[in-house]
């Protein structure tokens, strides 16, 4: 079990430092500042005492000197000291060891051998290794931030797994800016021991995680990844950004099929068969993740678009058609929207409340759509006008959605200036996926439908 990786009762930082700029300092600081409530034990061969953020710590010369159980030991010492330090962790009975240090398998054959020895040491003691060559691990429900990335990770329902170190750290910062709430951030690095499949198994049953986003360059055991991903997808959505669309493997192939394959097409096949949604850009992946980690599953195919502008309404309709979403077209029922628009408005889907739409119009239309049993998903679009401050609209949407009990998917797109941006942030902070462009809202809703449909198909059996 990876329980100790996410909910450790105590954390030792081996290679801890009081010097700003050092990784051993950054990890200590993040642990403290993010509010980790378990015990923190700095370890450094130099011993003595350090003070970080006004808190004084005794520094142990070895993990073996710590007069307490250690669940997790984060190793940041240079590569050549890692085997010895890991051996001591084993003797101490440490459960899980994130190895931040780099200089192993990523360097070549020699490094791979050392890495394999580390895994053997860990196996001997029943320890698990995360990494090496990583930036650490975050688990927001435990207020655990054992990384040298940004501190203020926003808590939320999305688990983020990254094979890339630099990109992973950058994405942590990006999620803060973009108001994307995370349950976990896991840097997997060289995946010597713990890999994507192990983490997926943990997140499958983790009540704090509703969706998983993986940045992946490759997997070692493709079959196991598929098997696990397929099981997890039946419960929670998985989004993968798979980098490296090269044609490796195509050259040596003797058959026609081999020359057409390339590993990337095979990855795509594996993702399709295991319900994994493949995103091609970071933006797309997080757009989908907002919807997939926050919204309930749709109970039917009927989508209703509510807008104050014909232009974005048409753009959203185009996107919906491209994505194969079904716009609700029962005019008898759509007539209810006529109550919320001037006579020249259009209650045909996309429902155009017109440029005169104020807070009352939107409030009424959104409330009716949320309450209607045949309207299964809602996209609220707004072009910023002088009639209605987008922030006021955000408040209306948040209130109406909460009062309805959040039983159906709802996405929002607001096009406009600085107030629009603020409104989008407000919505996202409240777990309502909001975007600056209508197509992005529709595509995110479509990702939710894709996963939901895959899931329904694979539950029949």
């Amino acid at each position: 079990s990876l329980e100790a990786l996410f909910n450790p009762k105590s954390v030792a930082v081996i290679g801890a430092s009081a010097k700003p700029g050092k990784i051993g300092y950054a990890i200590m600081k993040n642990l403290i500042e993010y509010g980790y409530e378990g015990k923190i034990y700095p370890v450094n061969i130099k011993g003595g005492e350090i003070e970080i953020n006004g808190r004084k710590f005794k520094v142990y010369k070895s993990v073996l000197e710590i007069p307490d159980e250690v669940d997790m030991a984060v190793i940041v010492v240079p590569a050549k000291f890692v085997p010895q330090v890991l051996e001591e962790c084993g003797q101490k009975g440490v459960k899980v060891v994130p190895i931040i240090s780099s200089g192993f398998g990523e360097l070549g054959e020699e490094g791979k051998k050392v890495e394999q020895q580390l895994v053997e040491t860990a196996r001997k003691y029943g320890m698990r290794i995360l990494g090496p060559n990583i930036f650490g691990v975050v688990y927001t429900p435990a207020k655990l931030n054992a990384t040298f990335g940004p501190t203020d990770v926003l808590p939320g329902p999305l688990a983020l797994i990254s094979q890339s170190g630099a990109l992973g750290i950058a994405l942590m910062g990006w999620t803060i800016l973009e108001k994307i709430g995370l349950s976990a951030v896991v840097s997997v690095g060289n995946k010597a021991d713990i890999d994507d499949a192990d983490l997926l198994e943990f997140f499958k049953d983790d009540e704090n995680t509703r969706a998983i986003l993986i940045y992946m360059e490759g997997v070692k055991d493709g079959r196991r990844f598929m098997e696990v991903a397929k099981e997890v997808s039946k419960k929670k959505p998985i989004i993968v950004i798979k980098a490296g669309r090269s044609e490796r493997g195509a050259k040596a192939a003797a058959s026609h099929t081999g020359s057409l394959a390339g590993s990337d097409k095979v990855y795509s096949a594996a993702f399709k068969q295991s319900g994994v949604l493949r995103a091609y850009t970071i933006g797309e992946a997080f757009d989908w993740a907002r919807a997939l980690s926050n919204l309930p599953e749709p109970q039917g195919d009927n989508v209703v678009i509510i807008t104050n502008g014909g232009g974005i309404g048409v753009m959203a309709t185009d996107a919906a058609e491209e994505e194969g979403l079904h716009l609700y077209d029962n005019l008898e029922e759509l007539k209810i929207f006529a109550n919320h628009m001037p006579p020249f408005g259009s209650y045909k889907n996309p429902v155009d409340l017109t440029g005169m739409a104020d807070g009352k119009s939107y409030e009424g239309a959104i409330r009716d759509a949320l309450a209607h049993p045949e309207m299964h998903s809602i996209a609220v679009l707004y072009c910023q006008t002088a009639v209605l401050d987008p922030r006021e609209l955000a408040e209306i949407v948040i209130r109406e959605y909460n009062e309805s009990g959040r039983k159906k998917p709802l996405v929002v797109a607001i096009v406009g200036g600085i107030e629009a941006k603020e409104a989008i942030d407000m919505l996202n902070e409240n777990g309502i996926p909001a975007y600056p462009e209508p197509e992005r809202a529709i595509k995110a809703l479509s990702a939710l439908y894709k996963w939901s449909k895959w899931k329904a198909k694979h539950k029949e059996k």
Binding site: G222, A254, A261, S263
Partner: protein
């Protein structure tokens, strides 16, 4: 199924070869119930004449040699042979072409096959990926595969749902479904073939490295399909 196919594979391996000739590959496919033409391997001219008579003219001739896997490059495929006289002439020609192309070519015989009525051409293939193992490929033949690379893959084994999705998700699917007044192709026959290839490779994954069924002629709905040419590469 497996036993029969394995026997053919082991014979090929015993000869120190990993590339099966078309005739052998088709025997393996036949063992798994894939539709291959009623064709026979003639070792002598007399046999060739006899088989051609049995099959009925016109026939096709394809020379089988482990050294000549690209048969059209070597000009060892002769089509539309209408009479015993023509067959005799072509018998000489096909052997001469083989000798010219590869003087050291070992010749197993000449495959005498019926002339097949043309259908919509599809390709079914198998490749082995280092991370995921064997994957099956499907696409339309000709320019669709050569130029547009309009093909799709699934990891083996596949389900019937996978097979159906593979067929409908290629861009050229409307051609199979019946575009511009054409009658729909036999989609069920393709589904059946994809599932049989998946089963074959899953059973024999320790032996098979790559495979091409190219082309496969697919006929109109209800009229089936046939593997026109096939290649199987074994693991060394």
């Amino acid at each position: 199924m497996k036993g029969e196919a394995l026997k053919i594979i082991e014979e090929v391996l015993a000869q120190g070869r990993t590339a099966m000739v078309e005739y052998e590959a088709k025997q393996v496919l036949k063992a798994y119930g894939l539709p291959v033409p009623e064709e026979k391997l003639a070792k002598t001219l007399d046999e060739a004449l006899k088989y051609a008579e049995e099959i009925g003219y016109p026939v096709a001739m394809k020379l089988m040699s482990p050294q000549i896997l690209h048969k059209s490059d070597a000009k060892v495929v002769m089509l539309n042979i209408k009479s015993p006289e023509e067959l005799k002439k072509k018998w000489e020609e096909i052997h001469e072409n083989a000798r010219k192309y590869r003087p050291d070519a070992e010749i197993f015989g000449v495959l005498i096959a019926p002339m097949l009525k043309p259908g919509r051409e599809v390709i079914i293939g198998v490749t082995e990926d280092p991370q995921f193992g064997h994957a099956i490929m499907f696409g339309l033949g000709g320019i669709f595969v050569e130029i547009l690379k309009d093909v799709t893959f699934r990891i083996i084994p596949i389900t019937e749902k996978d097979a159906r999705k593979m067929i409908t998700e290629i861009k050229a699917y409307p051609i199979l479904a019946g575009a511009r007044g054409e009658e729909p192709a036999d989609i069920e026959a393709i589904v059946d073939m994809l599932l049989k290839v998946s089963k074959l490779v899953d059973d024999l994954k320790d032996y098979i490295k790559e495979m091409d069924l190219n082309p496969v002629f697919v006929y109109r709905k209800g009229e089936g399909a046939v593997v026109v040419d096939a290649r199987i590469i074994l693991k060394g």
